[in-house]
Amino acid sequence: MAVLPIERKRVIELSDALASFPRTVSEILATIDDPDGNLNVLVGCINHDPIIAARVLSVANRAAARARRDTDVTDIYTATSLIGMTRVREITLISALKAFVGKMISDEGGVRQWQHSVAVGVCCEEIAAHVEAPISVDSSLIAGLLHDIGQFWFQAIEPETFRACRLEARARNVGIEQVERAHFGVDHSTVGRWLAEHWELPDDICAAIGGHHAPDSAADSFMVPLVHVAEVLSNALELSGGGDANHVSYVSSAACRKLGLVWGEDSQSLFGRIEARAQHANAFFSA
């Protein structure tokens, strides 16, 4: 029986009814190339969100205790000088997106899916820092965190059908995108790209969300191959826990070539960094 494909208009309407895309993420993205402006925007965003502020201050106070400071850290500027802007921005982005995606999660599978997203985000950051290709580390974190946003949408709107897709993909040992196309007429990459475009995310992030399962068709982009390789590595290293969901069928040679990534001896330290950071991030943000 032919499936009537889900249309872009319906995806956008239902998404808008579900949750608003966090302004914090858009504001950080808008100032990503302006380090001075970025700090002020970042502090402004954090000061408006008590949960993010508490997380940042908690990390900063642990650092202060180790540095034997006598006074507590109570403001974000001091916290940033103690733990660094990169770390503060990472805490802010992951916290903001976790709160947003959390509104679409309805079962344990969704929790694991978010852990996978965090792992892929961390992988993207580490690969971006490892290779010489000109890729923004912050943009790559956001692309990794949001690469499967289409799956969260399916989960929120069609939870039973999506659960069946997951089970079928595992049973048949095929990619979930193939099963999604059979059930919904479109896959999560397409739904994710529609959402990213609707939220006016940068073109390279939209392309990465839409193309991470077909990296060979995005010859001009660095972000598409980055997210593809990060997801493959996340599965190969079982960064979001063991289980049947982790399988690797291929890693695109064109994607690795584009990134200048060669699997050799120095991959060992890259894997070590990725694994340690992914475990740490998932433990910290699940608290």
Partner: protein
């Protein structure tokens, strides 16, 4: 003595731990702080690493497992990696190279 290498967050680092790789802090594109491989961390180093916003370090720890246990662990790891890659096309050199590196990493 046999050792194993681990990446650990700086909050878990302790005085006396030995670096398995250089620990470098980069600021503004240039190296602002560095400790070499084999260096045993002092209390002062822990403060320095933190002040330079180093988040993770690579340390070596004694491997107290027996030879038999090492072999068992390596075989279990290999079985798991083969399962993850069971649908992979190893005629593709890049996929095969990734498999080799993951296997080597998990067997260490």
């Amino acid at each position: 003595m046999r050792t194993r290498h681990h990446y650990i967050p700086i909050v878990d680092a302790r005085e006396g731990m030995v670096l398995a790789a250089p620990s470098n802090a980069v600021r503004g594109g240039s190296m602002s702080f560095s400790l070499p491989t084999g260096h045993a961390l002092t209390d002062e180093n822990l403060h320095q690493l933190q002040a330079h916003h180093v988040e993770f370090i690579f340390v070596m720890k004694p491997d107290t497992r027996s030879d038999e246990q090492v072999a068992i662990d390596a075989a279990m790891a290999a079985r798991r990696i083969i399962k993850i890659f069971e649908a992979a096309d190893f005629s593709d050199a890049n996929t095969a190279a990734l498999f080799d590196q993951v296997l080597c990493y998990r067997s260490a």
